[in-house]
Point group: C2
Chain length 348, copies 2
């Protein structure tokens, strides 16, 4: 079966099945590498046990020419920055602190050396901003397309891991920051909407220089009332779906509560499209989406605001059943909404 038919999720499911570690193998030797895996394939990052309360978190992300970036359409350092930020964000979504990174460049030999250097400089800038450091990597030639592949090792506490699988009925669903800005920023970069300099700068920065929510993840990891967490990389609906699937619950999102910036609304207006579509389907915002016991939502919101200077909004609740439903103010499901990006099918 061709990948274009199977789709990214179909392939990921097959690979996950190949890589699943049998429980018997984990238990057979708890001191082995397999025995120390706490979280394997299927969450934002893998988690392995260091044996003294500490865990290592392992994540990776890639940007490939023609899929994730077009040379010339954005400064090369921002390509490296985004790849690193995406991998850092996965560490944040597990509640950890990023520490060390590897960067592999697969570079066309007709490429300018300065382009390759800018990719690295951008990745380094993103790492440094969050206290991480690039300690190695590789450089290989690629005949026809350039790619940057980032791996990040983070540190966390065994008793403070944030998982996709931990949502429970009765919890509310919250999200940090605003959603849709990255997708709106991409549209502005592509010339689909023209805004004033300030709004342009805000939205394009949200796309090109995203901010992983490291401090917020650490605050959430400490909180006893937290349920599941994930970073918004595929889009709100799809990432909520990942939580729902892993936790075996349904997710109900309230359209009118989804936090959307004024700048995103203006870009959407200029394109005569509903801002909600950007917020629900546009990915790469790298905000944190999480569930929390309803009675603790206000306390968590206040902690994020006070300690990470970050707004968080209740956007829905964990429900029985499965799947993600987006409802309007009267509680009626809204149909025909964008789902998210599928790399192999190439549709939204």
């Amino acid at each position: 079966m061709r990948l274009s038919d199977l789709g990214e999720l179909g392939l990921l499911a097959r690979i996950e099945s190949i890589l699943s570690i049998p429980e018997t193998k984990r238990l057979a030797d708890p001191a082995s590498a397999a025995g120390r895996v706490l979280v394997g394939v299927g969450d934002d990052a893998a988690a392995v046990d260091l044996g003294d309360g500490r865990v290592l978190l392992l994540s990776c992300d890639s940007m490939v020419e023609g899929v994730h970036f077009v040379p010339g359409a954005s400064p090369p350092d921002t390509i490296g920055f985004r790849a690193m930020a995406a991998a850092l964000s996965d560490i944040a979504a597990m509640g950890g602190a990023p520490a060390w990174a590897l960067v592999t460049l697969a570079i066309r030999s007709d490429c300018d050396a300065a382009f390759a250097e800018e990719l690295i400089r951008g990745a380094r800038a993103a790492a440094e901003r969050d206290g991480a450091v690039i300690v190695g990597g590789d450089c290989v030639s690629a005949p026809r397309e350039t790619g940057i592949h980032v791996s990040v090792v983070g540190e966390g506490r065994r008793d403070g891991l944030l998982l996709r699988s931990a949502a429970k009925a009765g919890e509310v669903v919250m999200v940090t920051g605003t959603l849709g800005d990255s997708a709106a920023g991409l549209a502005v970069l592509q010339g689909k909407a023209s805004l004033d300099a300030e709004a342009t700068s805000f939205l394009t920065d949200r796309h090109l220089l995203p901010t992983p929510r490291i401090a917020a993840g650490a605050i959430l990891a400490e909180h006893e009332a937290l349920g599941a967490a994930i970073d918004v990389s595929d889009g709100l609906v799809r990432d909520a779906g990942h939580i729902g699937e892993r936790s075996r619950v349904g997710i109900e999102l309230r359209a009118e509560r989804v936090p959307i910036s004024a700048e995103c609304r203006r870009a959407a207006d200029a394109m005569r499209r509903p801002a909600l579509h950007f917020a629900l389907g546009g990915g790469e915002d790298y905000e944190l989406l999480f569930t929390v016991r309803a009675d603790a939502a206000e306390e968590v919101r206040a902690a994020l605001l006070q300690r990470a200077q970050l707004n968080a909004t209740v956007v829905g609740e964990v429900a029985a059943g499965h799947g993600v439903t987006v409802v309007d103010e009267s509680g009626q499901p809204i149909e025909g909404l964008p789902a998210g990006w599928n790399h192999f099918r190439g549709v939204r």
Copy 2:
């Protein structure tokens, strides 16, 4: 400047300079990620301090279509196997034990799903053989060429790190196993030499299913008389050059002592080429090249044979000056020898 002019080593030197961590930054906060880097860019793997005598080792390797493999020319599982084995070998060359791996597939969407699955199965097989486990990764589409990108996290002891930079005058240079088999195996696969089934199988396995020298690396890491170490991935002359450069010493290799298998000799004979050229310039053997105090060479050789069932041979010595010299039996330098593979220049 185009990469084809600058070359792989030129680009690596620039990147290393971008990524070097200033000593002041390391010392400013020893508890920070930067402060805990023991070995950064420029060795087989990076090493970071876990604070209790343990270190983490981080390595990565990539195989890109059209550069490292041609689909159809070798079974897809061997492509994944080789990529993983190369990254594991880097951990061996630091004296560590590989534990956890991430694998990213960049896959053409017109690719068959079974091909992608075989890449993963091969990588898993290589990891499992050495006690490591794949805990995560990513799958992205690539418009025009498939690649597999592997990162490995290994564990070691702070007092048992093998470095490229530790060679000292007065030491001898040793190498495990035999050299040139992988290059000869590739030639056999390409139909350049025809041998009997047994020799064909030996050489092609050495190319397609290489064996990282994990146990040997651990034995070397324990030995107080060890100098520098590296794995033979670029070819003997070039990898000896890496030790020489990092240790600021010269390396003199004795051509007649370089260990060459009977099978490699027969392949070379069939192609009317000197077997020595395969052994000196052919890479991807993943043997360990190391320096050791001359009076301890025999003891180390015996330990490798007894505990890792692996031959090791003295092939030269650490000398004053710089650069790698290959000499004949009378001590005269041999000129016109192959150096190794340069990905961007595409020449040997």
